[in-house]
């Protein structure tokens, strides 16, 4: 092909890619939608989720927004009681809540007993004016366990209004509405606190992306500067960044075009594409520089052609393996993770394509010259000197490297055993942030801001009218309550104990489950006729063979939930003896299962990638040894990533688990490029030391540049105000760093030691 037609072809490539980018940009701006509802993340067909969703419907289990009204002088004054009433009624009037979803001192039933009989009343309807009447309310609350310590704090300075909210109701507007609604009750000595899972989720959903919006430009600026510095060329920097942008736009554009929403984990796609795409650009320009410096008189077309000849094989192999690594995430049960894998793989493909056709087109049309500085440096042999020295000193200090790696390995394994999963949302915030302090405050006054629902199911009807089963439930509740982090619990047994006491002249010794099943049935009938029967539907079904026990926990972290689960599990066998099955429900439990699933998928995907890397490298290089050695960067990166999390007590969560995907993307890349060039150099030198030295100078430099660029960019995130984003920055940097180190030290040494590809004469 002549120069003219090649130029034409290059323009065509640019035009087509521009066209594609415009199309995907339009798709993205018109059809992209964010999915913030956490329920949408859960695998719909997982048995635990199906069960939990069912149980949530049976018992109207919802996440509570907790609005606490604090008055240091005590809540039993006209003003505060009026506020409780107004707040309750106004919440009930909101479309988002059913009357029955709002619980407060105003809406609660006061069941009281006397010698003569039983009364069911409100604590108040109109706010009383006299001190006597206010004191009466206070006495009533104090003697009612179903309210005292649950809706009014034991020190009588805080009252709680709880509004149960369905997951589907949540929106940004509603979140803001609830916050401003609550705050409008502040004043006259009353302070308002808003807590509960929906609020925490809402704050997180708003804060995380907002912080990212601030940080991303900074990250990009730093990457541009450092990239410009290592590439020493304006054109090369712009072109490399363009490939990163275009691949991200295409990935998100395709997502929009296929109608798949953007999940919060999707924000990790550009992170992966930056780390990997920048590397591709650097490889390209590195080879181009190399060729142009060696062949000063070469023209654009010849140099491009040569670069592609050198690059296409390792780049294709690396891109293919990386893509397969991400596609393996399709085995995950969690849809956002599947999509993350799929679209990252697509983005990598686009990056690869752009490196193979767009970058050459740029060179052909706009030309490219290595900067004077690179020429000067090469002349002065600064880099050569540095890399040769590095290579030699590493090779001479093999033992030090081995021992260091061994120590790191052992530490990582120890760290790995410490890794814990955390499904908590609260733990994502600063310890001194408003939301954490509010949560602590409400937890200190009441049973707990988080809930865990235990569902018992019996085959026989009326099982939960049997005193032995009810006693067992009661037992389980009091045993679990002994845990520090478990506040209150609530079940059918609480109703029955209260009724039994009330019907026996309010005598304390009757605060227990009635001894006879008929009496249980008759109390329940009585309650249904006198109280609000819908209250009972929250704890037991019509056939009395399904029951819901709610535990209030002082935290939503996995440790707290697991502690409670451990005690509850201890009752599983005893219930089983009575033909009762014990299961769980509620958003806290679902989050726990969900995190486990993500982790499981992630670990599976990394193991698969390792096996894949081993197989592909073995096949490509026709050597099992090469396969084993080439797997080192992936293995070390993943291991150290988890190990450091364990040692630094960073819990695994959706984001942190996914970050180890970088091991797949970068680790395999580095290994393939390095070994491929080493093999080519071996053809020339047939001496491992010489070949590795030459490889270090080419590929080693490219790898170092890539790591430096990405690390400096992501280190910017350490200044983020949102802790998860800080962790993200630190872990991306760490993973890049270990990939770099693993490739250029241990892998390099092992290649030499094993005399890889040495032809024996």
């Amino acid at each position: 092909m002549n120069t003219k037609s090649l130029k034409l072809l290059s323009w065509l490539v640019i035009a087509l890619i521009t066209l594609g980018t415009v199309y995907f940009t339009i798709e993205m701006t018109q059809n992209a939608r964010m999915e913030t509802r956490l329920d949408e993340y859960m695998p719909k067909n997982h048995p635990d989720f199906i069960y939990s969703d069912q149980a949530e419907e049976w018992f109207n289990i919802k996440d509570g927004i907790l609005i606490a009204i604090e008055n240091p002088e005590g809540v039993y004054n006209q003003n505060t009681l009026q506020k409780i009433k107004d707040m309750t009624k106004q919440l009930q009037d909101m479309d988002e809540f059913e009357d029955n979803d709002v619980t407060s001192l105003y809406s609660a039933d006061n069941i009281t007993g006397s010698e003569a009989g039983m009364e069911v009343e409100s604590f108040y309807k109109k706010v009383p004016k006299t001190k006597d009447a206010l004191d009466k309310i206070r006495e009533n609350v104090k003697s009612n366990d179903m309210v005292y310590g649950r809706l009014i704090s034991e020190d009588e300075t805080v009252a709680l209004v709880v509004a149960g909210m369905a997951d589907s109701v949540f929106s940004e507007d509603f979140y803001n509405e609830i916050l401003s609604f609550s705050k409008s009750f502040e004043g006259d000595g009353d302070k308002i606190y808003v807590a509960g899972r929906p609020i925490v989720e809402g704050t997180m959903g708003l804060l995380g992306p907002a912080d990212m919006k601030r940080m991303v430009p900074l990250v990009l600026i730093v990457i541009v500067i450092v990239l410009g510095f290592v590439l020493r060329s304006f054109k090369a920097t712009v072109a490399t960044l363009l490939t990163v942008f275009i691949s991200s736009i295409w990935a998100f554009g395709l997502m929009a075009a296929t109608g798949i929403p953007i999940y919060s984990v999707s924000t990790m796609i550009p992170v992966m594409l930056i780390a990997i795409g920048v590397a591709y650009g650097i490889y390209f320009y590195n080879h181009l520089d190399h060729y142009l410096l060696a062949h000063v008189n070469s023209d654009r077309i010849l140099s491009t052609k040569h670069t592609l000849q050198m690059l296409w094989k390792p780049l294709s192999m690396a891109a293919a393996t990386t893509m397969i690594g991400f596609i393996s995430l399709l085995t995950s049960q969690v849809y956002p993770i599947k999509y993350f894998g799929l679209f990252t793989a697509f983005g990598i493909f686009v990056s690869y394509l752009l490196t193979m056709i767009l970058l050459p087109s740029f060179v052909i049309i706009f030309g490219y010259k290595p900067s004077k500085k690179i020429q000067g440096e090469t002349k002065k042999n600064n880099f050569k000197f540095f890399f040769n020295k590095l290579t030699l000193s590493l090779l001479s200090k093999k033992r030090t490297v081995y021992i260091t790696v061994l120590v790191v390995f052992i530490l990582s394994v120890i760290g790995l055993s410490q890794v814990w999963i955390n499904s908590s949302f609260l733990d994502k915030f600063e310890k001194d942030s408003d939301i954490v302090l509010t949560d602590q405050f409400v937890n200190s006054k009441f049973g707990g801001t988080s809930t865990l629902n235990v569902i018992l199911e019996a085959k026989e009807k009326d099982a939960f009218k049997q005193p032995e089963n009810l006693d067992l439930i009661d037992n389980m509740q009091s045993e679990t309550k002994k845990l520090n982090r478990v506040g209150n619990s609530f079940s059918l047994s609480d109703y029955l104990k209260r009724m039994n006491k009330v019907m026996n002249a309010d005598m304390v010794e009757y605060y227990k489950i009635p001894e006879n099943a008929d009496l249980v049935a008759q109390y329940l009938l009585l309650y249904e006729m006198s109280g609000d029967p819908e209250n009972l539907t929250k704890v037991v079904n019509y056939d009395y063979n399904k029951t819901n026990i709610t535990f209030q926990l002082k935290g939503d972290d996995s440790k707290t939930i697991n502690e409670a689960l451990a005690v509850i599990e201890g009752y599983k066998d005893e219930f089983a003896k009575n033909g009762i099955e014990l299961k769980y429900a509620g958003s806290g439990y679902k989050a726990l299962v969900f995190t486990d699933l993500i982790l499981e998928g992630q670990v599976m995907s990394i193991i698969m990638s390792l096996v894949l890397a081993l197989i592909i490298l073995t096949v490509l290089f026709k050597s099992f040894k090469a396969g084993l050695i080439g797997s080192i960067p992936v293995f070390l990166t993943a291991l150290i990533s988890f190990g450091v999390m364990g040692i630094l007590n960073i819990p695994l969560s959706t984001t942190t688990a996914l970050l180890s995907s970088i091991a797949i993307g970068i680790g395999i890349d580095y290994a393939i490029h390095f070994i491929q060039h080493y093999r080519e150099n071996m053809v020339q030198f047939n001496d491992p030391r010489q070949a590795v030295q030459a490889t270090m100078l080419q590929t080693g430099k490219a790898i170092l540049f890539n790591a430096v660029v990405v690390i400096s960019g992501f280190l910017v995130l350490l200044f983020s105000v949102f802790p998860p984003n800080r962790t993200l920055g630190a872990l991306v940097s760490l993973n890049m760093f270990t990939s770099l180190l693993g490739t250029l030290s241990l892998m390099m040494i092992l290649i030499v030691v094993n005399k890889l590809f040495l032809k024996k004469n």
Partner: protein, 259 residues
């Protein structure tokens, strides 16, 4: 439970007859007054089967025997649970006074072997966990609403007046109700209840009514709560009117006998 005593069945039975009214030029208010004024017997007894069906399709079936006696100063009601077995013998009695005093109510739980007085501030607007409020059962006086005759309509061959009733009290739980009143009989055959937002909330339907001892009596009725996806069926059997139930039936001692 203040009004537990009440009306109850017979409030339903109230939705009774009166062939004697002529149907020409009648207004909505007049129609509803006639429905309210339908004559009942001095005493009524019968068996009630109440079936609650929740959205999961689970059922609670209760069988009760009940006696009602109206007097000059006091209306007395007593009911005995027959089924399910674990509540058999549980009984309720209520006396409601025409002078506006609070009702007196008693409950007897056989497992406790004690009669207790009970009282409530009327929060339990729904009758025994059903979809009927006491008002739905006929306790609401027509003067509490404004009525408008919308049209005449034939349902399943029965000619009806269609009357829209709007509460005078804006805070009432329904924004309006629409009632299909059988022409010349003055039984409400069907009623739709609309919530505060004007959305259809509940539908009441009469499935069976008969003339017993000269009084029109509703024997089967069903209320569907659309927003809660919940349903209540009530059916009456062995209804007898004006049998001369003795006052001794309505005593604390009678409650403990369980029938």
């Amino acid at each position: 439970m203040k009004r537990l005593n009440l009306v109850f069945v017979m409030a339903l039975v109230v939705a009774i007859t009166g062939m004697k009214y002529s149907a020409s030029n009648i207004g909505g208010a007049e129609i509803m007054q006639k429905v309210y004024d339908l004559p009942t017997g001095d005493d009524t007894q019968g068996e009630l089967t109440m079936t609650l069906v929740n959205k999961q399709g689970e059922q609670r079936v209760r069988k009760l025997k009940q006696y009602i006696k109206s007097g000059e100063e006091v209306d007395k009601k007593i009911m005995f649970f027959m089924a399910p077995a674990d509540v058999k013998g549980t009984s309720f009695m209520s006396w409601s006074y025409s002078d506006g005093r609070d009702d007196d109510q008693w409950i007897y739980l056989p497992a406790l072997k004690r009669t207790k007085r009970i009282s409530s501030d009327g929060k339990g607007d729904y009758f025994m966990g059903s979809d009927f409020t006491y008002d739905d059962l006929g306790d609401r006086h027509p003067s509490e609403d404004n009525h408008k005759l919308l049209r005449e309509e034939t349902i399943n061959g029965v000619k009806c007046y269609v009357v829209e009733s709007t509460p005078k009290d804006e805070d009432y739980m329904y924004s309006k109700t629409i009632t299909w009143v059988i022409k010349d009989v003055y039984i409400g055959l069907k009623r739709d209840f609309y919530d505060e937002d004007g959305k259809l909330m509940k539908s009441l339907q009469i499935n069976k009514y008969e003339k017993i001892q000269g009084f029109w009596t509703i024997l089967e009725t069903e209320m569907k709560n659309h927003s809660k996806n919940h349903k209540t069926k009530m059916s009456f059997s062995n209804v007898a009117i004006n049998k001369g139930i003795p006052d001794s039936k309505f005593t604390e001692r009678s409650m403990t006998l369980g029938k």
